[in-house]
Symmetry: C2
Subunit: 241 residues, 2 copies
DNA sequence: CTTTGTGATCTACACTGTATAGATCTACAC
DNA sequence: GTGTAGATCTATACAGTGTAGATCACAAAG
């Protein structure tokens, strides 16, 4: 039944967390579930569907139970974060319009999720957010943006941009796009020596310094916030456009 | 030699363009090159390296020859765009600070590249930009941001954010993350009917309308531009911070 | 003519996802 | 108890993957 499916998804998740996504084969998942590979198919359909099921389960674990999801404003830290204490630095209490803490919490939840399950980043970023769980978190973003005063026709676009930045940042962080590809700085400099790179030259002191990714995430979030607020302001100033 | 390698990369690229990335197997590439699979290894090293080589070649084709790359301001449309005429809508001529047209051209070049080679989106987004070709386009972005007045310590962060948005948008467009997963709206609504989704409800008219991706890309670029300009302004107003 | 080196080949291994057909168990009717 | 229907799992097989290891063909050097 349904619990057999959960058992299978659990096995697949454990496997991915321990040995990476490439270790998730139908045979390996089957063995871990104590069953033969073909026995998985009635429950998960196919390999691709199994992967979708895995992200679905991740989102289920992440989001708070439906009961709390009434549309009323929630308190700041608890929603959508499985380990809020260390992961969600307290903000100066801006009590009245709480759309920002809510958005912030979602952003951190997504980033923390990717940190805990790096293999999921590629899937989260590539597959459409069509599962019920994913729709729920998108809905939270919609609500926050509406509360922030973003004009309704713009909300879905801004949501896409927001999630692109946040998921993209997290995926790049764990996926190595922001890294140096494993070359040490000397070798890297050698590779790039043959061509004129005036920008790199001018920025050299800052490029060589190590990056504080937590701070960068904070800065990106701040940029997104001003972006959202400017959308709202523009709307308020001339509602015709 | 080196031209044998190019021959192999050409075969792999053609294969990917015609039948998708999954059709790029060592055996298939070998057959198309007129050689046995194992003969590829001295030239490309491994499958992963072959894929890296493919994106490298894409970037080489895209960027203008090194000669033009002197750091002097270039004319608006030509740089970094393989098919500028239809793909790069003319902007109102803001002649004096041309950092924006330059950035815009790069953004469109990246998006057009992904449109022409959808298979490359995942690779572009996941692998670090360490090849000489990639470094060159990053350098262009650095220069544009510096010209825009972005403070030097912020430039690399803003560059990362910029490329995350642009590559992320393009990848999501062709990869289906922005889509509905192949379900028609009725089925989709049925899937989501069981739970309260106040945001979706409030936005329903706008969510059902088809999305103009070109316009959305324009709007995202406009947002990025104001973001960059606000960075520059903040810096000008109080240079200490 | 022999030797050396280089590039391509052949074979083989350990995998992958999954279609198909058969086996095994459970539950209920008679 | 016996028979049977349905669900669940298993066994086998196929066509494919990337690539390690050994072999082979052939041009240039001694």
């Amino acid at each position: 039944m349904a619990d057999r499916r959960q058992e299978i998804l659990d096995a697949a998740l454990a496997l991915a967390d321990e040995k990476g996504l490439t270790a998730v084969s139908m045979r390996a998942v089957a063995e871990r579930t104590g069953v033969t590979p073909m026995a998985l198919y009635p429950y998960v359909g196919s390999k691709a569907a199994l992967l979708d099921g895995m992200v679905g389960r991740l989102l289920t674990d992440l989001l708070p139970p439906l009961a709390r999801d009434t549309g009323l404003p929630e308190d700041d830290a608890s929603p959508a974060d499985a380990s809020p204490a260390d992961a969600f630095p307290a903000d100066a209490a801006r009590s009245e319009p709480d759309w920002w803490p809510r958005l912030r919490a979602l952003a951190y939840a997504a980033r923390n999720l990717v940190h805990r399950h790096p293999w999921a980043s590629a899937l989260l970023f590539m597959r459409p957010a069509i599962t019920p769980e994913a729709a729920r978190s998108v809905d939270r973003i919609y609500m926050a943006l509406l509360d922030a005063g973003v004009p309704a026709p713009e909300v879905s676009r801004v949501e896409r941009m927001l999630s692109t930045v946040i998921l993209g940042f997290a995926a790049s962080e764990v996926g190595g796009r922001f890294g140096d590809g494993g070359y040490d700085p000397r070798a890297r400099r050698g590779m790039l020596a043959g061509q004129p790179l005036p920008g790199h030259k001018a920025l050299l002191p800052w490029l060589e310094a190590p990056v504080d990714w937590d701070a960068e995430f904070e800065a990106d979030l701040a940029d997104l916030r001003t972006l959202i607020e400017s959308q709202a302001t523009r709307w308020r100033d001339r509602p015709s456009q």
